[in-house]
Symmetry: C2
Subunit: 226 residues, 2 copies
Amino acid sequence: MRIAQLSAESGVPIPTIKFYLRERLLPQGEQTSATRAEYGPSHLRRLRLIRALLEVGRLPVATIRKITEAVDDDETDVHEMLGTAHYALSPAPEPAPDDEDWRDARVMVDRLVADLGWDRVRHDAPTRDELAQALVTLRRLDMPATRDDLLLHARVADALVKEHDIKKIPFDAPRDTAVEALVICQVLYGKAFDALRRLAQESESARLFDALPAPGDAGKGPSEAE
Amino acid sequence: MRIAQLSAESGVPIPTIKFYLRERLLPQGEQTSATRAEYGPSHLRRLRLIRALLEVGRLPVATIRKITEAVDDDETDVHEMLGTAHYALSPAPEPAPDDEDWRDARVMVDRLVADLGWDRVRHDAPTRDELAQALVTLRRLDMPATRDDLLLHARVADALVKEHDIKKIPFDAPRDTAVEALVICQVLYGKAFDALRRLAQESESARLFDALPAPGDAGKGPSEAE
């Protein structure tokens, strides 16, 4: 198809498609004459992927280029290709490895990952630092996470991944499609889960307070009612 | 204590404390002379809360003022006060109620909330719209969430709230402290969970690919190279 049809089918305006071509996010079409190029289904798939990375993942163009390069390079195996997208979606933490709190937190994370049998997670995965950073902040705010807190969260995360995430990613589909599904799954189910957790909090808090006597009411403290 | 000591104990610089006083986030100290004011433990607690809302919750000053007003107003009961903080932490979605997809998604959310017995969640809770928006986006990207997807996520969120979140919030502590714990819990355990989910994904994906024959390569899995 021509660029006009590619635009119509994908819903992406022609100037935007030209921008993606210039930025090498979208491979050139097949040149059929000096002024005409033909585009195929792989271009449509790529446009969908770019939109998912831009609009859902909110990744910068330079990061998207790294991901599309991994998708295009057949030497990169599927696991590594997905890993590239995966790590690109991690908000980069700023590790302070000279700091003792940070080192302690990172040790806690590494021990947790090992104990859970997640030993195939790369040692330099930015995700480890990201978790360590949350732990450092919790400790500095005098609400340190215990090992039980972490184990509970990890068990629950593991269940969601095994029962949901892994099933949503079509590993045998075209490479574009698998990465697109990973990004969508990651970002949107992340948001959905977050909203559900807050809904559950509101519900539980209302239930709890409903069962409580009003303050000043016969000297009862709020949590005595449990 | 004087402002200098308040600064030393809280780690908040004097000019910043003066800014919080001007912005009415921090109540005035007790005026002991024309140029001197005394501050107490409630000011220390308030400073901690402000830092948590600013640095952890990344909320704008105007929103923080709304929350501190709810904390200061004893007429506001604890559940409502926590709700104010809770809703302030919701990223405001942009509902498009004229849109059919959006209406369908919102119906799906309301039905889910009812079926889960979360019927004390306010009908106008922004969290409902937030979840609806994630559903609309998933549908537009051709990866619609099924009711089972949602139920799985909701069940897991509910377990985390009951086994963790509710226990972390000291409902009978000073009002400042309860709100501070809610915000910290909300934001930092949200981040920690997100990181754990990505660690579990990486682990599961590596396991899966290890077990898969590499394309065209008699039985070799990608992650064997490690």
